[in-house]
Subunit: 167 residues, 2 copies
């Protein structure tokens, strides 16, 4: 991302925090805001992830996972009374050498307008600002081209990804 | 791992912490200890990683990365005056849904005797105790079979791994 996103107006900083940024949006009627500090309603978060096809997870475990995450980003549709969570991304990592992106989601109603790309740009910019050297992710076949178009390298030097399941 | 490793004798807990475990070793003259709490001399740690072929990293950044890591494991060759770090592994993650293993190293002098396998068993056991559901790692071609033999699934459901570099 070459240009930083515009800051939100001071009047919105109470809702989204002083570091919040406006997310570009073709629809003039929408005000969309990236925030790393606005607290999530965990039921709303799980509803968003379920809307993109993931299984619901116990709220207690989601709370603990968020606490232990390096970066959490909410994309909010602004409303002065009830902001709505329409996008989300989460990273784990050490903030220095490695970060891994999980849980990237844009609500289906808002897909197709480039918000997924905006979210990934925002996440990578935030991680770069932290000083993280390398970012990794696991892509299922349906989203591989989405990430490749943005400059992600798939399996550089023939790296393979391995998983182990505790169950 | 079906049987927990034996605890270290109380006389060694000052050096390695109360949770330290003995690592099985064919050589009776060696006492090897897994510890999650014994502090690392960061120069010694970087020398170990360099001995297995990795570039040296600035100590200040290593210190920050360790602070932000979910799990750090040292494998120590016991000596009552100067314990030596002969193995290491590090994980990032949220401790609930996801953990990622990085920096797995056994000093070349001690390779070939199954210590790498012991280290991975210890790491997975520690992550399971934390309640982590899934563990991931990136394997270069030379170690893929090492992980496959231990039950790791490579690219389940055709997941691909992607990397992005900040430079």
């Amino acid at each position: 991302m070459t240009q930083p996103l515009p800051m939100v107006a001071e009047s919105l900083q109470g809702l989204y925090g002083p570091e919040a940024r406006l997310c570009p949006c073709a629809n003039e009627k929408l005000t969309l805001v990236f925030s790393q500090t606005r607290a999530f309603d965990l039921v709303e978060l799980e509803q968003l992830l379920e809307a993109v096809g993931w299984s619901r997870r116990p709220v207690r475990r989601v709370r603990k996972a968020l606490t232990n995450s390096l970066l959490k980003v909410g994309l909010w549709r602004h409303d002065p009374r009830v902001p709505r969570l329409i996008g989300f991304a989460r990273c784990t990592g050490d903030g220095v050498f490695e970060a891994t992106v999980w849980d990237v989601a844009v609500h289906p109603i808002y897909q197709g307008g480039g918000l997924g790309r905006q979210m990934m740009d925002y996440v990578l910019d935030a991680l770069r600002e932290m000083g993280t050297e390398r970012v990794s992710l696991f892509a299922d076949p349906g989203v591989v081209s989405f990430y490749q178009r943005q400059g992600w390298e798939l399996e550089p030097q023939q790296h393979r990804c391995g998983f182990w399941y505790s169950s």
